[in-house]
Amino acid sequence: MDLNLIKPMRDDYTDYLRDESRAIGQADSISFPKNENEVASILKTLYAQGTPITVQGARTGLAAGAVPRGGHILNLSKMDHIKGIRQSADGHFHITVEAGTILSQLRKRIEQKKFDTADWTPESQQSLEAFKDEPALFFSPDPTESSATIGGMVACNASGARSYLYGPTRDHISGLRVVLHDGQIAALKRGDYKASGRTLRFPTLQGNQITVDLPTYTMPRTKNASGYYIEDQLDAVDLFIGSDGTLGIVTEAELRLQSLPQTIWGITCFFSEEAAALDFVISARDTMNQLASMEYFDGHALDILRYQKKHNPGFSKLPILPDHVNTAIYVELHCQEEIDALEGLKTIGQLLEKAGADSKDTWVARNESDRDRLLFFRHAVPESVNMLIDQRKKTNPVITKLGTDMSVPDQHLKQIMAMYHRMLAERNLESAIWGHVGNNHLHVNILPRDDEDYKKGKALYDEWAAEVTRLGGAVSAEHGVGKLKAKYLEVMYGREAIEEMARLKQYFDPKGLLGAGNLFEPVKGEVSE
């Protein structure tokens, strides 16, 4: 192996010790491999030495999955080639990208249908010609950070607003290449290797057969990105999606594209009463099938935006919020024809009136520039909250945002919202709630003012994890478990399931070095902080 690949940590690498979760770790060395062979040789060498290895993409994760706990940082950001395109028998186009490919750049390429094809096979180049003749296609997962890498999105099974209609990243991955701890490589196509019951077999390119017994637990029937994805007849591809870099290193993914709806309209609906907003969500969910997303913002989130618009020039572009409203729901209509979107809009008007809201309190975006304004509004919420926390951090460095990522089944939406509001009020905690209400998946953000608040917030988080579990929900619905939510994984699945997960991990990672600290709480005597 080229020894220069592994570089000792230096001051100018300190950014690589943290991610968007704002957790900070430590490491002894770092590498930026440029291809799969380099990944395999680094892994083989370091694994044999017993060095923990944390894989990184763009470090936009919110659960500290990419924050190293000692050992080596395997940063895949230099592996960002789009390697080819193929058309499957069912007519779908699949695009193969290296794990470090940035989502926003990939989107641009797909939209412009322009690729660097120098290294592409003749078959790929031929498929590209067919792709160019096709109406617009897209890769639907849309996490807030479009600077995320595809590898990172695979690692945590990322979602986004549009996952309400299109599903999470998992639903759009048709193949993976994974480097295993000993440097062997598995090239997995969806459908090729499925578990028989709970026993999964798949080959490596080196000619070995992997046979592994899968855990026996059942996953909740709700939006979920917590722990290993397990089901009967599990597809080998699915085992690695959402595994947080703990089973192997995903170096390449094949993404299945779908046709981009010709008409996309965004509508922000405002309410003076939250109850009306939830009634609207429930009736829209039951009756409309062209909604791609349903997003919620509570009164505190709106107040924070009002404040920012007034005091921060960077937010002056925000449209003016009506004074009398305290809840907003953003929905997005995806239709082929404008006439269908118009019908959808009329239905939304009727549902708003039925819920007791005023349809005048709406912002409808039918073109790019209006959609950008609504997007700016939605992104301004988390950004404003982060700024507020950073401000408080200056006087008290202990303070950090406590953000939840829990989901519950449909029938519990009102109950869970009432619980959040009641408990936050009881503890006198400042908060802002927003998120994917269509999936009953809200991000409750506790905004501590002092140490006391921070402690109270953490305790509340624990209570919610237990309650969400009781309701059949998930402790992480899209951010992944990473390190920050590891203790809730046990709350959600129970000790026995965690032990099964640990056995599964041990098969793929006998020394417990891959993604150390992710999914599993450190046990005494193991590598820990």
Partner: protein, 259 residues
């Protein structure tokens, strides 16, 4: 108060296609948007209407597909719209366009106030507003960044200058062109969109307007575009990789090629 707002459809991207013969922009209606400066003019008109009562009329000269943008204006507070559309208007420069728009204002039976964006983002001339005012014999103020007071007779506004602003009082009827700091254009509301579908919309041809054929379209345009071209990008960024000595060698090679 009767207010007309001039609206132009412009390409939504920078990738415009030029007609190789006439050297004018090919407007096919696809992906076209309202000229951003005009959206501030519209918002201001609607705010004045909210304050004083009256009506707002969106006016444009353009291809039939411009109806979509005019109806969009009615979803944001305009009451009705008038489109001046005729093949013989094609290829108009600012003089021919402002003449045609002045005929539109006359069809409306005159108005108290005309608001225009300060310029269109495709042509960048900033001439239509002043020329239209001259065609109609109205006073005008360009680059208005604030309206301090308005009643049925007068308007007190601030005109942006290089060093600040001038405060000007103008007798109505008058024409103002506006800059983007003037206001925050509203979004369409759901009832606004439903209204816009059936909002009063009229279209007029050159014959309807009794336009002088020598003053419209290419014939009425003293401006002749000799050549247009897309500038070639000649700057390029390359990323060098390797160890320090390799990088130094590469840099040296590049410098020696340039020098």
């Amino acid at each position: 108060m009767k207010i007309a707002v001039c609206i132009k459809q412009v390409p939504s991207t920078n990738e415009v296609h030029m007609d190789p013969v006439t050297n004018t922009i090919i407007r096919d209606g696809k992906q076209s948007v309202t000229n951003p400066f005009d959206t501030y003019a519209l918002e201001q008109a609607v705010q004045i209407k909210d304050q004083l009562g009256g009506e707002v009329i969106a006016l444009s000269m353009g291809i039939p597909a411009t109806e979509r943008l005019l109806r969009d204006a009615t979803s944001r507070g305009a009451d009705r719209s008038l489109l001046l559309s005729d093949r013989s208007f094609a290829g108009a420069d600012t003089l021919a366009t402002s003449y045609t728009l002045s005929l539109g204002i006359r069809v409306l039976g005159g108005v108290d106030l005309i608001l225009c964006g300060k310029m269109a983002v495709d042509g960048d001339t900033a001439q239509i507003g002043p020329e239209l005012a001259e065609q109609l014999g109205l006073p005008h103020v360009t680059d208005v960044l604030a309206i301090d007071a308005i009643d049925e007779q007068n308007i007190l506004c601030r005109k942006a200058t290089d060093n600040g602003y001038q405060r000007l009082k103008v007798k109505l009827p008058a024409l103002l062109t506006v800059v983007k700091d003037l206001n925050m254009p509203r979004m369409s509301s759901l009832p606004g969109i439903l209204y816009s579908l059936d909002s009063p919309f009229e279209s007029r041809t050159a014959a309807d307007l009794s336009a002088d054929p020598a003053r419209i379209g290419l014939n009425g345009s003293p401006t002749q575009v000799v050549r247009t071209y897309v500038p070639q990008r000649i700057r390029e960024a390359i990323v060098l990789e390797g160890d320090d000595s390799q990088l130094a060698d590469d840099l040296l090679n590049i410098y020696s090629e340039v020098i």
